[in-house]
Each structure stands twice: as C-alpha cells, then as structure tokens.
Symmetry: C2
Subunit: 108 residues, 2 copies
C-alpha cells in the first residue's frame, strides 16, 4: 500500500503528464500529423499510411482518444477521426511558462 501517483501529484501535474505521454510515441505523432494534414476527418485510411498492423493503429487511436487528443465518430461501417483541440491550450500554456524570460536567468 505505497503512495499512488494520485496521492502524490496534483491534478494539473497528472493531466499534463497523461497528455504528454499520449503524445510520446512517433506513431501517435504521425497519426496526428496525418489527420492535421487532411484538415478534415479521416475515415479508415490511416492503416495504409503507417507501417503498423490494423490492431496496433487501432490501439494508438484509442489511446489518443482516451487522452482527449482526437474524437471519433461512427459513420456506417467505418469510424471518422478528427483532432480534438480542447486540451491544446492547456499544454501550450504550460510550455510557454517554461519558456518565459523569468526562467532564463541562470546556468548560462
């Protein structure tokens, strides 16, 4: 019965880590890049785009979806995926804070 991550870190820290973790795999970055490039939903043609099995891509898609980075809509036999921009500002804000001038005053 050790400390869990939920006990140890606050909600914001855990959310950031979860989102970044979902972004921390090249296949998932490639999927996001591909969806963005289409600038519309993509329906099923991701499997042909990446050198991964259908099972693996489906897994990555569900991870991206669970993290709130994409949305999926069922249309007939296929599923339509698009970006979910909801959490982007949260991540950008965090990174910008790390990048602010106040944090560049040492280790030069």
């Amino acid at each position: 019965m050790g400390l869990t991550k939920t006990d140890t870190y606050n909600t914001k820290t855990l959310s950031l880590a979860t989102l970044f973790k979902a972004l921390g795999h090249p296949a998932r970055i490639a999927i996001l890049e591909f969806i963005a490039k289409q600038s519309t939903c993509i329906c099923g043609d991701i499997v042909t785009e990446l050198p991964l099995s259908q099972a693996s891509i489906s897994r990555h898609l569900s991870e991206l979806k669970a993290a709130g980075l994409i949305k999926g809509t069922i249309t007939g036999t296929s599923v339509c995926y698009c970006l979910n921009p909801e959490n982007m500002p949260f991540l950008v804000q965090f990174l910008n804070q790390l990048n602010s001038p106040t944090n560049q005053t040492c280790c030069s």
Copy 2:
C-alpha cells in the same frame, strides 16, 4: 531485422515524440514545475521536494537533460539545474498547428 523507428518515421516526428515522452511522467512535470517556480537554478533541493528516492530523481533529471529540457551545471559538490527553453517553441508550434481553425471542420 524489422523496420526500426528511425527508418519508419521522419526526424521531426521522432524528435517530437522523444520530447513529449520525456514530459510524459508526473515526476518529471513536477520537477519542471518546481524549477520554473524557483525561476532560478535549483541545486540539490529537488530530492526533498518529491516523494521519490535520490536515485529515482537523479534518473528523471538525466532523462530531462538527455531530452534537452533542462541544463545542468556542476558547481562544487552539487549540480545546478535550470530549464532549457531551446525546444519549447518546437513543441508549441506543433501543438498550435493541431489547434488551428483549419483543423476543426468536422466530427462536430
């Protein structure tokens, strides 16, 4: 002799994934938040700040350093860590692209 990640994904995709992966753990987010909060170098007092062993913190610090998210300078017996803002704009730019209006035209 399967395909390696380096064969499969382009450099930009791999860099993004590596950086995000380094950000994908609550302990490492907490470390970055702590350094940012001090808005100066921190020298050694991270161990008392987080509920992790000295060995584990050292490991997380070296991962953050390897990813290029922090810098470390040796000063006497201790090491001084501060943020390395170098890669932040790269990450922010990627996230902002995902968040651009062009990418919000479907799955509504």
